[in-house]
Amino acid sequence: MSKPVLATTSLAGCFGCHMSFLDIDERILELIELVEFNKSPIDDIKTFTKQCDIGLIEGGCCNSENIHVLKDFRKNCKILVSVGECAIMGGLPALRNGIPVEECLREAYLDGPTVGLNTEKILPNDDELPMLLDKVYPCHEIVKIDYYLPGCPPTADLIWNALIALITGDELKLPYEVVKFD
C-alpha cells in the first residue's frame, strides 16, 4: 500500500506552526516512514505534483494569493486541516479587522514609524503583487475545512497525535494540556 501523501503551507501566518511541527523532533524520522511529502516548505516542492491525502494549513487569508493557495489545497487534498489560531480565526493578522484597509496601508507604507527609506511614499501597486483583502478571513470561511488544531502554535504533540490519528484512523486523544488557544 502506498503511503499517504501530505502537503503543508503557510498563508497569513508566521511559520510558527511549521516550527512547532518540526518540534516533533526525532519523530520526524518515524513520520517520513509513514507519509510522503508533496507541496510543502518542508521539502520545498512548490506545486502539487499529485493528489494528496492530507493538507495542513497554517495562517488565515489576508490577501488574494492566500485565497488562491487555499483553494488549490482544497482541490488537491482529500482532507484539509486548519492548524493554529491564524487558520482558525485569523489570529494576530486579524487584529487589523475593523480598521479600514486604507488606514492599514497608510500606516504600513506612508506614515508609520517603520516606513524607513520609502521616501517617495509609494504604495505597492505592481500588477504581480497580490491584493490585500478587506479583512483577514479564517480558512473555513473560504473553503470547507475538515479538522481544526488550535494553538499559537499548536503543540508538537497535538500536531503529531492528530497526524497519526488521521493516518492510522485511530481515535484522536486530546489530553487537557494539549488543546490551548495560545
Binding site: S64, I67, V101, L105, L123, M131, L132, L133, K144
Partner: protein
C-alpha cells in the same frame, strides 16, 4: 439650565426610582437630554454619569442630541413596509432634504425610524412630536414638510379627526379606531360605569378572587396565566404594600387593540383596575403606557379625574371604609421588551427594562420589591364583565381551556383591518372571511414572537391550547416574499429590541440574521437550513424571557411551515458553500492603489 433640571428632579423628590419621569420631563423641556443635564442628575441623585446613561441609552425615544424641532418617527414594522412605507420614507427625505437617522442642518426636521407604533391598521404611519399621523400619502408628506417650514403647530396639521373618541376634544387625533368591527360578546358589551365595582365591594376580597378564579380568566397578554391565581398568589404574599400594575405597553408589531380599548373604553379599564386593587388590597395602581400612546395621556388623566369625582377612584371608594385606590400613569420611552412584566417593573423603577430572573415572581417581589400584580389592559377590562355577569356566564363563552373572547388586531393584506372581538375557538378561516382576505399565503399569529402558519393550518383555532396570540393577526398575501419581506424584518426587529442582557439573545440573533441572509443571497446549502433551525432552538432553550425565547420564531416557524421556500434558495448539492466574494474583498485595496479589482 441647572435650576430647571433641579426643579424637575425635586418634583420627583430626588427619587432615583423616578428616573424615567425625570428624563421624560427634561427631554420635553429641551427636546433632548443634554450632557449638562446628565451631570446635574448624576450629582443630585448621587449616581455616576454612566449610571444615568445606562437607563437613558436603553430607551429609543431618549436622545442626548437635539433631534429636530419637528421629529418624525416613521414606523418601519413589517406591515408598514407592506403598505408602502419605503415610498413615504423617500418622500420625507426628499422634501426635508435629509436622510433617516439625521436632522436637517438648520435643526428644523429630524427623520428617524421606529419600531411598531400601534397603527398597523392604517399604515404607513408616523409619530411627529408624539402626534400620530396615519395612512400617510406622498401629498400628505409634502403638506407636512411645508407646514414644518412655515412653523405650523403639529396638532394643527392632522386634518380630519378619526372615528369614535378620536374626535373627542381631549384627544383630537386623526387615528381611526376602525371601531371594533364585530360587536363582541364580552369586552364590547354595553354597561354603565361603576356597576361592576358596586357589586364587587359588596363581597369580600377573597370572594372576588374566587369569582375570577372560577371564571377561568387567563391573561390576555399572551402567556395565558390564570388571572385569579395570580391575584391569589399576590394576596398571600407578605409585604408592606401591594401594587397593581396595568401593562399598556403593547409593543408587539401588529398589535393595536389596546389603543382602541384605551380610547374607546378607558372607564372599563380603570374600573377593572379598581376591582383588581380591591381583590389584592392595593392602594396604588400604575398604568404603564407605551410612549407611542402619549397622545392619549391627557384624555386618560381626565377620565380618571371624572372617576375620582364619581368616587370610583381615590379615598373610600363608593363609601367603603379602607378601600383607597388611585392610579398614576407611568410613561414608557420606547422599548418593546418592557411589555414583559418584570422588565416593565424595572423600567418603572427607573432602570433599564431588563427582564428579571424568576423566581421571585412579581406577585412575591415586584415593584419596589413588594407583591405586585401585573395584568394586561384587556384582562383587567374583561374582569368588569365577569363581575357583572358572573363566572359561569363567562366560562360558557369560548372553549373549555380558553374562556371568553379575544380582541384581535387584524392587519396586513385584507380589506377590513381593525380590532375584532372573537370568541376563543374561532377558526383562522373564519377570521380571514370576515376581514375579507383572499389570496392568502400565510398568517402571522401573535406578531413576530408568534407563529407563521400556512394555508393548511387555517382550520386551526385561536385559543391558548391551539394558536395563542397576544392580539396580533397579520395577513400575508400570496405576492409577498415571505422570507425577504417578513422574516428578515422580524429578525431585525428582535436584534434591535433585545435588552441585550442574555448572551444568546444579544448575539445569536445577529448570527441567525447572517445565516438567513446567506441563504437569501443564494449562497446557502441544505446544511445551512438545518443549522439555522438548530441554532434557532438554542434561543428557545437558553434565554431568560419571552422575547429571547421566541426571537427565533420567525425563522423556526417558517422553516417548519414553509420549508419549500427555503429549499428553493439552495442552488447546490454540496454541503458547504462559501460566501466569499473576491472582487468585493479586494475592492477597497485596489481603489486605494489605483488597480482594477479583476483579481480572481
Amino acid at each position: 439650565m441647572k435650576d430647571k433640571v433641579q426643579d424637575i428632579i425635586k418634583k420627583y423628590h430626588d427619587d432615583k426610582t423616578r428616573l424615567m419621569d425625570i428624563l421624560i420631563d427634561i427631554q420635553a423641556e429641551y427636546n433632548c437630554i443634554p450632557g449638562e443635564a446628565i451631570e446635574i442628575i448624576a450629582g443630585q441623585l448621587n449616581m455616576s454619569k454612566v449610571d444615568v446613561e445606562q437607563t437613558l441609552s436603553f430607551y429609543h425615544f431618549f436622545t442626548t442630541e437635539p433631534n429636530g424641532k419637528y421629529t418624525v418617527y416613521l414606523n418601519d414594522s413589517m406591515v408598514a413596509e407592506m403598505m408602502g412605507r419605503d415610498e413615504i420614507a423617500r418622500a420625507f427625505e426628499e422634501e426635508a432634504g435629509t436622510t433617516f437617522g439625521s436632522v436637517t442642518e438648520d435643526g428644523l426636521i429630524g427623520l428617524f425610524n421606529t419600531s411598531d407604533i400601534g397603527m398597523n391598521d392604517q399604515e404607513p404611519a408616523a409619530l411627529i412630536n408624539g402626534v400620530p399621523f396615519t395612512s400617510l400619502t406622498i401629498s400628505k408628506v409634502k403638506e407636512l414638510i411645508a407646514g414644518f417650514k412655515a412653523g405650523k403647530e403639529v396638532k394643527d396639521m392632522i386634518g380630519q379627526t378619526g372615528d369614535g373618541n378620536n374626535s373627542d376634544p381631549r384627544i383630537m387625533s386623526m387615528v381611526n379606531n376602525n371601531c371594533l368591527k364585530r360587536i363582541g360578546s364580552i369586552m364590547c358589551l354595553e354597561y354603565e360605569t361603576g356597576w361592576a365595582l358596586r357589586r364587587t365591594v359588596h363581597i369580600t376580597r377573597e370572594a372576588v378572587i374566587e369569582m375570577v378564579k372560577r371564571s377561568n380568566l387567563r391573561g390576555r397578554g399572551g402567556a395565558g396565566f390564570p388571572a385569579g391565581l395570580k391575584w391569589e398568589f399576590c394576596r398571600k404574599s407578605e409585604g408592606d404594600a401591594t401594587y397593581l400594575v396595568c401593562n399598556a405597553d403593547e409593543g408587539e408589531p401588529g398589535t393595536f387593540k389596546e389603543r382602541v380599548v384605551l380610547t374607546e373604553m378607558p372607564e372599563q379599564l380603570f374600573e377593572g383596575m379598581a376591582i383588581a386593587a380591591y381583590a389584592i388590597n392595593a392602594k396604588e395602581g400604575i398604568l404603564y403606557l407605551r410612549a407611542e400612546y402619549i397622545y392619549l395621556r391627557d384624555y386618560l388623566e381626565d377620565v380618571m379625574e371624572t372617576m375620582r369625582k364619581d368616587n370610583l377612584l381615590g379615598k373610600h371608594i363608593l363609601g367603603v371604609e379602607g378601600f383607597d385606590f388611585d392610579i398614576r400613569i407611568q410613561m414608557g420611552a420606547g422599548a418593546y421588551v418592557c411589555g414583559e412584566e418584570s422588565a416593565l417593573i424595572e423600567s418603572m423603577e427607573g432602570k433599564r427594562g431588563e427582564p428579571r430572573n424568576r423566581p421571585p415572581f412579581p406577585v412575591q417581589a415586584g415593584y419596589m420589591n413588594q407583591p405586585t400584580v401585573v395584568n394586561n389592559v384587556e384582562t383587567l377590562s374583561t374582569v368588569v364583565k365577569i363581575m357583572l355577569n358572573g363566572p359561569d356566564w363567562f366560562k360558557a363563552i369560548g372553549t373549555p381551556e380558553s374562556a371568553g373572547t379575544k380582541l384581535l388586531s387584524v392587519a396586513g393584506d385584507c380589506k377590513k383591518p381593525g380590532v375584532y372581538e372573537f370568541e376563543f375557538g374561532t377558526k383562522v378561516n373564519e377570521v380571514l372571511d370576515l376581514v375579507e382576505a383572499t389570496s392568502v399565503q400565510a398568517v402571522q399569529i401573535g406578531g413576530p414572537s408568534g407563529v407563521c402558519i400556512n394555508p393548511e393550518m387555517f382550520d386551526r383555532n385561536i385559543s391558548f391550547e391551539d394558536l395563542s396570540t397576544g392580539g396580533a393577526f397579520i395577513v400575508i398575501g400570496k405576492d409577498r416574499d415571505l422570507l425577504q419581506d417578513v422574516v428578515t424584518n422580524y429578525i431585525d426587529f428582535f436584534i434591535e429590541e433585545s435588552c441585550s442582557s442574555c448572551a444568546p439573545c444579544r448575539s445569536l440573533t445577529v448570527i441567525l440574521r447572517g445565516k438567513l441572509q446567506k441563504l437569501l443571497n443564494g449562497h446557502g446549502t441544505m446544511n445551512d437550513i438545518d443549522e439555522l433551525y438548530r441554532w434557532g432552538q438554542f434561543m428557545k432553550q437558553a434565554n431568560r424571557c419571552g422575547l429571547g425565547q421566541t426571537a427565533a420564531n420567525p425563522i423556526l416557524t417558517t422553516i417548519e411551515n414553509f420549508r419549500p421556500l427555503y429549499e428553493a434558495l439552495v442552488k447546490t448539492d454540496e454541503d458547504y458553500m462559501s460566501e466569499f466574494d473576491m472582487s468585493k474583498a479586494v475592492e477597497e485595496s485596489c481603489k486605494y492603489v489605483d488597480r482594477v479589482p479583476n483579481v480572481h
